[in-house]
């Protein structure tokens, strides 16, 4: 289980998260949706401590960590939490000086100190899972965006995290390449991978997520099952936002002639 309790995040005078409390079940897929600047990415980055929350507490599995304004979190605690999480970035962020399989092996070899043959074996299995086995020895620069993102997903999964965090995993991709990433994430969801994804992509969210959290101006406006939030939202604010996303999507499709 992942629990965020009263998480606040302040950048200078700017309070980006205003006390967010949410619980995510093991095996569930949650989409964080909401307007840009609403705090989706920040919330996601607070789960693996790329941003340290100003206050509140975080629980992942058996690890719990509380935050206090001005308090310094020991590197060891940060490490403990990060090893329970994997992250997929909007711009993939593969290591360009390592091949696809080396990217996936990196965390196993450098962080978990696995022997190389064992790491290679697991990395290969993961590349197969994301359909990138035949590109195992390719340099990232020679891969398409969709392929890079699939390798990045394998890299994030390598240390068997409890939760996979995806920060706009498809928004740097054109629709066709986005589809291959959506397919991979959908397969992971069916296999019971716990996921939290910040996304603008309704297709991604509605296909994969069971739970939707609508975040605006640093607070949770509405949360619930995907079918309810997308098709029958309670709050007017949510309704407006979903409608605008739908419109955007329709325009995009009309524009690209699909």
């Amino acid at each position: 289980m992942i629990g965020l309790s009263n998480i606040e995040k302040r950048f200078g005078d700017n309070l980006v998260l205003k006390g967010v409390t949410v619980t995510l079940d093991e095996g569930s897929v949650t989409a964080l949706v909401g307007p840009s600047g609403g705090g989706k990415s920040t919330l996601l980055r607070c789960i693996n401590l790329l941003e340290i929350p100003t206050s509140g507490s975080l629980r992942i599995g058996d690890e719990t960590l509380a935050f206090h304004p001005g308090g310094k979190v020991p590197a060891k605690d940060i490490q403990r939490i990060r090893l329970q999480t994997g992250m997929v970035f909007q711009n993939f962020q593969l290591f360009p000086h390592r091949t696809a399989i080396e990217n996936v092996m990196e965390g196993l070899v450098t962080v978990l100190k696995w022997p190389e043959p064992r790491a290679r074996e697991r990395a290969m299995a993961l590349l197969e899972k994301v359909g990138m086995a035949e590109k195992a020895d390719a340099w990232p620069a020679t891969l398409s965006g969709g392929q890079q993102q699939r390798v990045a997903i394998a890299r994030a999964l390598a240390p068997s995290p409890r939760v996979l965090l995806c920060d706009e995993p498809t928004s740097a991709l054109d629709p066709e390449l986005a589809q291959e990433v959506v397919d991979v994430l959908g397969q992971l969801a069916r296999e019971g991978t716990t996921m939290v994804m910040a996304t603008h992509d309704l297709r991604l969210a509605s296909k994969i997520a069971q739970e939707v959290v609508f975040l605006d101006a640093g607070v949770i406006v509405e949360k619930g099952p995907a079918s309810v939030v997308f098709d029958n939202p309670e709050r007017a604010r949510t309704k407006r936002f979903i409608a605008s996303l739908r419109q955007e999507e329709a325009q995009k499709e009309a524009g690209s002639g699909v």
Binding site: F95, P96, H97
Partner: protein, 226 residues
């Protein structure tokens, strides 16, 4: 055989010997040590505590802002006045190392800064510590970008080692000067010395080109085609 060619051939072993036991070791040692000094200095400037940052900025300011020849004279001729007496070769080595350290620290600082922030985050996200991220992700990518500017510094250094002649290091240029003193043929000997420096730096340029090809095999940073 014309006189000039005969003189060049006769003096060649002496010059090559001086290059082999002074010019080349002085260059390699001071570059290696200077690179370490530059890396430490750059890391302090990027990540160190404020007082240390001020100290290393002062160091870079002094050694980039004063002539290398003057630095060598201060170390070799000046320091004895305060009781620090150094042999010529160590004095030259210290001078070149400090000078190279100041220049390369700026290069290293810039190339470390040029690696996209997302690479740090990707490293952290798979559980790496700061030093693992630095060693495994940032420095290899920064190193690739650093090769051309560092090669510049290296090639300048090979030629600048001739300044060590002024503090009595018997390196290649001083060997040429000595032969001139007995043969009175400055044009021939100095052309020969110049040609040897040119040969040395040409070898380095060729090595640089090969290194760049090797390091470029994976393409550049990925942000451009993200």
């Amino acid at each position: 055989m014309p006189h000039w060619l005969q003189l060049m051939l006769e003096s060649l072993p002496t010059l090559l010997w001086a290059a082999l036991i002074f010019t080349v070791p002085l260059t390699l040692l001071s570059f290696a040590l200077g690179l370490i000094a530059g890396l430490v200095t750059a890391l302090i400037r990027l990540f160190g505590p404020k007082p240390l940052v001020a100290l290393v900025r002062f160091y870079v300011w002094i050694f980039r802002g004063t002539p290398l020849l003057v630095q060598l004279f201060l170390i070799f001729y000046g320091l004895p006045s305060v009781g620090i007496l150094l042999d010529a070769f160590p004095a030259a080595l210290i001078g070149f190392t400090l000078n190279i350290g100041a220049y390369t620290s700026e290069i290293i600082r810039a190339v470390i800064g040029s690696v996209p922030k997302g690479q740090w985050e990707a490293s952290y996200s798979i559980g790496m510590t700061w030093s693992q991220a630095m060693r495994r992700t940032i420095l290899p990518q920064a190193g690739r970008v650093a090769v051309p500017p560092l090669s510049n510094t290296f090639i300048s250094l090979v030629k600048d080692t001739s300044l060590a002649a002024a503090i009595t290091v018997p390196e290649m240029f001083q060997a040429a000067q000595r032969i001139v003193a007995t043969t009175y043929e400055p044009l021939i000997l100095y052309v020969e010395a110049a040609a040897l420096y040119l040969a040395l730096s040409s070898v380095l340029s060729a090595l640089q080109a090969r290194l760049e090809v090797r390091l470029n095999r994976y393409g550049g940073f990925l942000e451009a085609n993200a």
